[in-house]
Symmetry: C2
Subunit: 316 residues, 2 copies
């Protein structure tokens, strides 16, 4: 068995929901009748999307999690995934741990790996994920309407806090906060169940990956609307909440949250609150969609605030 | 407009066969009723799959061509593609030329780019392609039967000749042969029409990307059969044919041919010959499938030959 076969062995598992999995020129799957097919791709590069010393098990998890998060953002049921990997060297224990993290999450959601490519090169991971929604029901970015409430799931900012502490070193959270932040950065939980449950309740939706304020702009631009955001309502961890102004960039523009940001008719408020209880997920109303273009941020008293950093740009 | 927007602009074109193209968390497509969906991924890394000084237009073409070749190998109609790219620097003219080569081929086959991801990193390209065949009709590697003829399209070895001349420098073909070899290496033609036309005629099929002998092994292993190959019948360019023994590795194990290798019931011989005429593609019968496991190679007189190099391994 050569190194190539070895890698293949780690990434080849049964794909019960495929007609034909890994091993031919292409996989074969049979999409569900009456469903639309969703396709999304994310590429992760060492030094940009993750640190070189990242735990490979966590990296395997996160590589899939960020893609499942895209399916969650459309309300889609994730079904299949293909993975291409460039590896600088063949390190069997690294590959085994990466595969363990990746498949641990895949199996939790019944997602099958149906194809892959492995080559030697600078560590680079590219995942394409496929999911399904009933015809025409997907949660799209272009569906926000004036008067909609803006909601976000979970808490924002912890992952960005871990990154800031490591890169800038200008914050020193207590050990338990830092551990929670690192956990959020390394082991994000895609909101798959929430996304599907929002299909009948939400209008526009996306996942917060590059920072809340910048990501919200995508909804505004595609829906041709504006928004007012109440910064003091943004849900975050208690330690960050106590430093809300000082660490505003972590909370509103930090990235790596993988929470769902969605809009809904105000009449859905109670149903959304009930859903939060049912799923055990914090859902917070943080603003409203306006007719006036652009994003306005206010404090709890309605006074305008200026955010210094509005998102993340790989080439900035 | 920042650099990121600039890149997006080059890779975002209309996707008339998609419900929703680039710009949301995921694309939305509507698979054809009664069809199976094929999915394949290829990752290309600088210095391994292409030289650093490659013409970016040719690279754009080839990045898609190798993926379309996988669809051809299943007999599938290619429909959609997603592209992820890591780029070390933002060079607008490079990106424009790459996109030009990529979309030139995509448009020729009505393939829409429905998603992508762009990040800074060592030059790495990953393409996932989707195609369709009627339920259960795909050409699979596991479908060869004892007694089948083995066929190959086109001519083998020219692309490998260009690589060998550059890397080893131990061959010096005349300028016109070298130009043809370079053309084959840089601008491969995926056998998309041929693959679809073979659906009712062929049994097993794959595309020759890593070398004929090694790729044939994939059919043999998955179909649980063996084969005898007539080396002297392998179709190649005249200059290579005159040096068939000396340059055997280019012809039988060189890679980058992107021809179709397929098996068919001998009763299909005349129909396959007629198809060759109809499409203007050379189709050559090069061997037969045996019950005895393993690959035997013979010369024109039936005497056994030994090939020194049986394929390509990225980690070898």
């Amino acid at each position: 068995m050569n190194e190539f076969d070895l890698i293949r062995r780690y990434f080849t598992r049964s794909a019960p929901n495929a007609v034909l999995g890994v091993g031919d020129d292409a996989a074969i799957v049979r999409p569900s009748p009456g469903c639309d097919l969703h396709v999304s791709v994310d590429m992760l590069v060492e030094g940009r999307h993750f640190f070189a010393d990242v735990d490979p098990r966590a990296l395997g998890h996160k590589t899939l999690a960020v893609n499942l998060s895209d399916m969650a953002a459309m309300g889609a049921v994730p079904r299949w995934v293909v993975l291409s990997v460039a590896l600088p060297t063949m390190d069997e224990s690294w590959v085994a741990a990466f595969a363990d993290g990746f498949f641990g999450l895949a199996e939790r959601y019944g997602v099958a790996v149906i194809g892959g490519d492995t080559t030697r090169g600078p560590l680079t991971l590219s995942v394409t994920v496929f999911g399904e929604t009933p015809h025409g029901q997907a949660l799209r970015r272009d569906a926000a309407q004036v008067g909609d409430d803006i909601w976000v799931s979970g808490e924002l900012g912890l992952a960005a806090l871990a990154v800031r502490r490591r890169l800038k070193g200008d914050v020193e959270p207590p050990a338990e906060v830092l551990a929670a932040a690192q956990q959020r950065l390394d082991w994000p939980t895609p909101r798959v169940e929430l996304g599907q449950a929002l299909l009948p309740l939400a209008r526009a939706c996306l996942d917060v990956s590059d920072g809340l304020a910048g990501d919200l702009q995508h909804i505004l631009e595609r829906s041709n609307v504006g928004a007012t955001l109440n910064f003091d309502e943004l849900p975050t961890a208690p330690w960050l909440a106590e430093r809300r102004r000082e660490l505003a960039d972590c909370i509103a523009a930090g990235g790596d949250d993988y929470e769902l940001l969605f809009t809904a008719d105000p009449g859905q408020h109670d149903a959304i609150a009930a859903l939060a209880n049912q799923l055990g997920v914090r859902l917070t109303r943080i603003g409203r969609i306006d007719a006036e273009a652009g994003l306005r941020v206010t404090d709890a008293a309605g006074q305008p605030l200026t955010l210094t950093r509005m998102g993340y740009d790989h080439f900035a």
